[in-house]
Symmetry: C2
Subunit: 218 residues, 2 copies
Amino acid sequence: MSNDKNSPVVTIPRRGLMLVLSSPSGAGKSTISRALLERDTDVIMSVSMTTRPMRPGEVDGKDYVFADQKTFDDMVVGGEFLEHATVFENSYGTPKAPVEKLLREGRDVLFDVDWQGTQELAQNAAKDLVSIFILPPSIEELERRLIGRGQDSDEVIQKRMAKATSEMSHWSDYDYIIINEEVDESVARVEEILTAERLKRTRYPGMVDFVRGMGVSQ
Amino acid sequence: MSNDKNSPVVTIPRRGLMLVLSSPSGAGKSTISRALLERDTDVIMSVSMTTRPMRPGEVDGKDYVFADQKTFDDMVVGGEFLEHATVFENSYGTPKAPVEKLLREGRDVLFDVDWQGTQELAQNAAKDLVSIFILPPSIEELERRLIGRGQDSDEVIQKRMAKATSEMSHWSDYDYIIINEEVDESVARVEEILTAERLKRTRYPGMVDFVRGMGVSQ
């Protein structure tokens, strides 16, 4: 125990939480996630498992855990995934064990999953999950941002816009909504949500003992 | 709509929330409440109705709304209270109508109620309620603070301590727990909880139209 003014004297072990940020592409999710991971060292990016071949420059265990189909399928049968999906004949999934270990250590885990993955996480880990949907301030602004990237043809941009409105239709499955007008502001909001969610009673299995230690009976 | 960098361009009407701070006496609730009301002008203190006589210096409609027993009882029968109780033959209650008006205007309402009042609010307005329990860092610190007030005899302090541990036994009914080691820090935590809770999807009845306006179908 330290009496340093800047560090709390009472430390009650906390169970970490699972954080999902979702948004249509172009609405700012990647930028916000990157900023969050840089600023808050208690937040760890979840590493998915996949059966797709490793690409040049990728690191096994960092970008993905690469596995063969048999291993993956056995884990599906064993219920060892928090969520999994097959996209273009490749399987992707979030193994339970490493996430559970981080949560028990009081670390928060950030997931990069779509709305279907989020629904599956909500089914399998509702108490640990905090989900945030990031919306663009307007459809025109979303289009401006996609064009501003300068990466895509008109046709591709129109396809992306159609996909974006389809993705946005799932906003109402999420706990929190952030309208991303200014990235720094949005990152601050995600951090405030995290700070608040970390104060939830249900994240402190040790609180029972702490209160009991003060002579309080239940 | 303003394009001022410091004000958001998109404003979606928000439904206010009901905030309860509870703590055993001496754990810091009053100080934290006062600071919150000073700093955050969107937070309004709820005014209770009571049948007890007005005391010198009290202002009707500010400290309490003073009412006769018949008026109070009729309101109980009419279901016009969010919570009510009788203490030493005097009735106290929170009328629904003014709270509902503030919530519809997007103001947050702070309540000064005990654990029973909090339970009643949770039954009658679960979706709007955010409850925070403030704990002392230790039982010794709580006693130090009660003694430090210099108001009470030893006997009174022992009674207060017994009452405090009894009050603390209800900590597990609350959404959030703050251990009050340093008042400024605790006020900041309450503010962060408020900021986060204001971003909850369910507080934006107008979000459906905003998203629909972007061409998103549900």
